[in-house]
């Protein structure tokens, strides 16, 4: 994995990283300086900073942090903060990188978030398989105690289940409360009633890392990079037909071509791109020179950066085989709670598989069109929405390939090694 910035003002989050082990506390302080004290920067000021810098969640939904913080502050009861490092998106590597290499940045951000909402406790959550995160966090907490850092909160580490929905906000809260890793119906939102029925601020670990730097340098510094609508930098995981796949820190709004160049350049011909991971969108390769990784540019193509996964699909891969594998994976990751998701996801996966095998009944493509239209918005979480969008953008981006498979069955590339990663059932990643 390569980890670098693509701009002269970058890296920010990834500054000081060596990849020879976690950035220790002394080095963290040398790179970033100390965290502003509560006397210099109180809770209300932190919320204002989050608002002025337009900080948005980096877990996938890109929800404004300040709105969440205000909702927690407006709720009655002792607040609690959850630092969400459950990177359940199989292709994403940024959260694991932050937890294992830069735990002090995440812990700084969590301290600030706790200050912002008046929380006395922070729960840092990560998946069971992520033993590096646990080791780094334990080590980092020990270093902070030894250095006499007053975080004014109690930290707890929480080991979460190994499922696609484990990091979904209400699913994570459910687990921390002793329940299953299943989304719950909203309302109540965790901001009103979350962990131990308390108002709970759940923030992705990258969001917290950004907060740690914004608190030190201010909203104007943050906005020196990025676009007016989306200031700052963001982490992306670039994979597929690039020479140096890995986690990169980019300026928000960076052109896709520039990102691929930073990742060593494109290797061979590209058939299409997947932007935003398994809840994301397939887009045709012809758009590579035009696309910027911003809401404005991606939104024109009904896409979004989501969790930051960008995959260049090599021309030697089969888009049908890749799409079918992921669709089956997502359909099997349903929490089995909501009828439309249970039945609709299975129907989509089954029909896609039949198309790939060349034995789908006539009307299969029309069925897929109907199901992907009728499914969004009808589950307690967005799994059916994500699956429907993933599949409908695949059908729109690779119509000839799906048509060819429907008529003639598997192509020569179908047997090629899978590019899009599917975690083994019930096992560690």
């Amino acid at each position: 994995m390569s980890t670098t910035g693509v701009d002269v003002a970058l890296p920010r989050l990834l500054a000081g990283i060596s990849l020879r082990g976690m950035v220790v506390h002394d080095r963290h302080l040398a790179v970033h300086g100390p965290l502003p004290s509560a006397a210099r920067l109180d809770g209300g000021a932190i919320v204002e900073l989050a608002e002025r810098s337009r900080l948005r969640g980096r877990g996938g939904a890109r929800f404004p942090s300040a709105i969440k913080m205000r909702a927690v502050r407006a709720s009655r009861g002792q607040a609690i903060v959850v630092a969400n490092g459950c990177e359940s998106e199989p292709m994403s590597g940024k959260d694991a990188l932050l937890l294992s290499e830069l735990p002090h940045l995440v812990l700084d951000g969590a301290t600030l978030a706790a200050r912002a909402v008046g929380a006395d406790r922070v729960i840092v959550a990560f998946e069971r398989s992520n033993s590096d995160a646990r080791a780094s966090l334990e080590h980092a907490l020990k270093q902070r105690r030894a250095a006499g850092v007053d975080d004014a909160v109690r930290f707890e580490l929480f080991t979460a289940a190994e499922t696609f929905l484990t990091g979904q906000e209400t699913s994570l809260v459910s687990q921390i409360n002793g329940g299953l890793p299943r989304p719950t119906f909203i309302p109540p939102r965790p901001t009103a009633r979350g962990v131990r029925k308390r108002p709970t601020l759940v923030q992705n670990v990258e969001t917290l890392a950004h907060l740690a730097l914004i608190a030190r340098h201010g909203a104007d510094w943050y906005a020196q990079l990025g676009t007016e609508a989306e200031p700052g930098s963001t982490l992306v995981t670039v994979l597929g037909a690039v020479k140096e796949p890995g986690v990169y820190e980019i300026e928000c709004g960076t052109g896709l071509e520039r990102l691929f160049a930073a990742a060593g350049g494109v290797r061979g011909a590209v058939a299409g791109m997947l932007i935003g991971g398994y809840f994301g969108s397939w887009l045709p390769a012809a758009l590579v020179s035009e696309l910027e990784l911003s809401d404005a540019s991606l939104g024109r193509h009904n896409a979004a950066l989501g969790c930051g996964v960008v995959v260049a699909l090599p021309a030697a891969s089969c888009p049908v085989a890749e799409t079918v594998r992921v669709a089956i994976y997502l359909a099997t990751e349903t929490a089995n709670q909501c009828g439309p998701c249970v039945h609709g996801s299975a129907a989509i996966a089954r029909t896609l598989h039949a198309i790939a095998q060349g034995n789908a009944p006539t009307g299969a493509l029309a069925d897929l069109g109907r199901w992907t239209t009728v499914l969004p918005g009808r589950g307690a979480c967005h799994l059916p929405d994500g699956l429907a969008h993933f599949v409908s953008t695949a059908l729109a981006t690779f119509p000839d390939a799906f048509d060819d498979h429907a008529r003639h069955g598997p192509c020569t590339a179908c047997g090629a090694e899978a590019l899009l990663d599917i975690p083994p059932r019930g096992g560690a990643r």
Binding site: T184, F185, Q337, C338, G339, P340, C341, H343, G344, V374, R378, G379, A380
Partner: protein, 64 residues
């Protein structure tokens, strides 16, 4: 008034679509597809009847 369903509680009994077909239809698996618009005042009584009839109390009427 708007209508929402709690999809976790809904078990596809289908009474809602039977009682309020102007607003609620069923997908091919029997789960409700609900018109997201505001229910006109003259139809609110139908919405209430549908919500009351749901065996799993999955239909929610929201003020909007």
């Amino acid at each position: 008034m708007k209508i929402r369903v709690n999809p976790i509680n809904c078990h596809a009994h289908g009474l809602c679509a039977e009682l309020f077909p102007e607003w609620i239809r069923l997908d091919e698996w029997g789960y409700p597809i609900i018109n997201p618009e505001v229910v006109p005042r003259e139809l609110e009584a139908h919405a209430r009847r549908a919500a009351d009839a749901c065996p799993t109390l999955a239909l929610l009427l929201t003020r909007d």
